[in-house]
Symmetry: C2
Subunit: 386 residues, 2 copies
């Protein structure tokens, strides 16, 4: 049997990522197989952490930023805690492509020095660790997106001067906001997949049940945040790539409209496919953490740096109006309102999908939520075919 | 020689459009050929109009709206003057596809009655005639876009119930704003053309020199507004279709970003081509008239009716900031600032284009304007190919 030429290259890259974890955070005893230890969240990962590390990493991003932007906690302590927990997460579920803890701790030191000198945070994300899907370019490490062919290149181009130095627009903005970048998370090869598997990192499993998938394509983000190895991060979504890992891992995620978060200078699998645009969206353990990350990015006026971003700031007035409307209209705020469109007037869904929609409708009604059916007549389409 | 089957259908449609002009506004003597009478603007068209009709039609849209929204002029008088002038324009340069003057005058009467009853205008375009490129559906008439195959159909579909009753979203909004709709203007077949020619209306000529083209694809708009048969109207643009007829006819036009003016329910030639979106933009004789039309449409919150419109209102603060900046930075406000990018770093333009750019640069500098050259290195592109 011949070993294909790409395999040793992929193996070396996978080992290099593992080797980037400091020895003190390496698990030396054998890690149980997924069948032996399905769930590695909660008490399982906690056994490797100090009480203080658990205290820090189990707050949500919003609460952490409250402490790091006021100087209650130092950036260095928070960063080290998340680096440790992310290192453990990777050893359990293989969720990281790039690890740069040393650079992160250096950045955290600079942030602490800034706070000491200016008595104020650099920005709303001062001292908050933020993870990134491996589509964003960060100086000092490479971007493979799980392609063996991209190892040692810049987006597949050999000898390109941008390799290891270029940073994506969002990365520049996160740094300006005071965020600490420390790792890049796994993706499926080509990105167009609802589970996370590639020839470098092999397979990222679901930390709640390692016999199952963590979703994709922002699967590494989903798995890492579910293990609280990150308080929040940024993925991308075209057909579910933020939403699937969010739902598979019990997290919150937003797939914004296109033109909200800057994609400028990020890698992608399908350059030139501009018909249905991929978008960047945050994932986190709480909704308020998503809002923190989203508002922070918009506060950087990304439309001045990425021509595809719309000049639409965070609109607090719209947010307040919407919250007031919801409170006014709901007698019982636990009851929600849904609209269901069973077909678009042109194509009927296949029977299993139609059945699933009926189950959803009946379940929502049984739970007392409002359901409005959007009816589309098939008549016009039939007429046009005749 | 066999006459093709489409020809009598096209001829009948062209004749029907002409027949929609009331007898009193038909020119009975022979109309001189383009070679005999190149320029039909100014004194030439004025000879067929009363002094009062000239007074009304030679104001810009902004000034007309000042009079019709305050009750100084009635909607009926203004509408009749523009119907008359548009009828003459069509007979000189063949710029109209659809004529519905009777419906317009009925609408104007209702607007006058509204003003008499409420002592205020219906909206900021109260009583202002507005012309429309023949992509917009207006009840009572059809949309052919110059396709013989679309005669007697709705966008080519026979027996479609929408024919003659459906209205495009922009049309609904213009009516709500108080505008009076009275004609639809000519386009080239397929729309993808910088001159205006189709098998129904034949050729729309340039009113300033009928041996030349009026531009396209919003060519009928350009020709009609240049003859002051309309104070302003809406065209569409993907690669110049507002800008070309604006510049060919000495008018102002805006090609907005996509997602500003609602395209919902308008006809187009390339359904499904969503990579480079066509956009709707106004044309008029003055810049302030474009602003009037644009602001008026946005005041209708089109994003509530067309999912592709961005929720971005007219931002007076940005307008004021920009004006203040221009005034501050310019010692001499007649001097402008230009940026020129001679190539994009990947493809060099052909020699005649490069020469034209040099002439533009030198001319601007000679006139004392600021010129900033945007330099792009070709090196990166060369490297990536090696």
């Amino acid at each position: 049997m011949t070993i294909p030429a790409w395999k040793p290259i992929a193996d070396a890259k996978r080992q290099a990522t593992l080797d980037a974890i400091p020895q003190k955070w390496r698990i030396t005893e054998p890690i149980p197989s997924p069948a032996e230890q399905r769930d590695v969240t909660g008490p399982y990962i906690q056994q490797y952490l100090s009480a203080r590390e658990i205290e820090i990493t189990e707050l949500d991003a919003y609460a952490i930023a409250e402490k790091t932007t006021t100087g209650e906690w130092t950036a260095v302590e928070v960063t080290e805690a998340f680096c440790h927990r992310a290192a453990l997460a990777h050893q359990f579920v293989s969720c990281l492509h790039e690890i740069f803890f040393d650079a992160a701790i250096e950045d955290a030191k600079k942030l602490d020095a800034y706070f000491a000198e200016h008595k104020k945070p650099l920005g709303p994300l001062h001292g908050l660790p933020v993870s990134l899907k491996d589509q964003f370019h960060v100086k000092g490490v490479e971007t493979t997106m799980g392609y063996v062919g991209w190892i040692g290149t810049f987006q597949g181009i050999k000898g390109d001067a941008r390799r290891g130095v270029f940073e994506s627009e969002l990365v520049r903005e996160l740094r300006a906001l005071g965020a600490v970048l420390y790792c890049k998370t796994s993706v499926p090869a080509t990105l167009m997949c609802g589970e996370t598997v590639n020839n470098i990192i092999t397979y990222t499993t679901n930390p709640k049940n390692r016999l199952l998938a963590c979703g994709g394509s922002s699967g590494g983000e989903g798995a890492l945040i579910a293990l609280k190895g990150s308080p929040g991060g940024f993925g991308t979504d075209i057909g579910g790539s933020v939403r699937i890992p969010a739902v598979f891992n019990g997290l919150f995620g937003i797939r914004p409209s296109s033109g909200r978060i800057p994609y400028e200078g990020a890698a992608n699998s399908m350059d030139g496919q501009n018909t249905i645009l991929s978008v960047i969206g945050p994932l986190a353990g709480t909704a308020r953490s998503l809002q923190l990350l989203f508002k922070a990015v918009l506060s950087q006026q990304p439309w001045l740096y990425d021509p595809l971003v719309l000049e639409v700031p965070w609109r607090s007035d719209v947010e307040q109006e919407t919250r007031a409307l919801v409170e006014q209209s709901a007698n019982d705020p636990s009851k929600l309102a849904f609209a269901i469109m069973k077909h678009d007037g042109i194509v009927l869904p296949h029977p299993p999908i139609a059945r699933a929609l009926n189950i959803v409708e009946q379940t929502l009604k049984r739970l007392g939520h409002k359901v409005r059916l959007i009816e589309r007549s098939l008549a016009v389409a039939d007429e046009s075919r005749s």
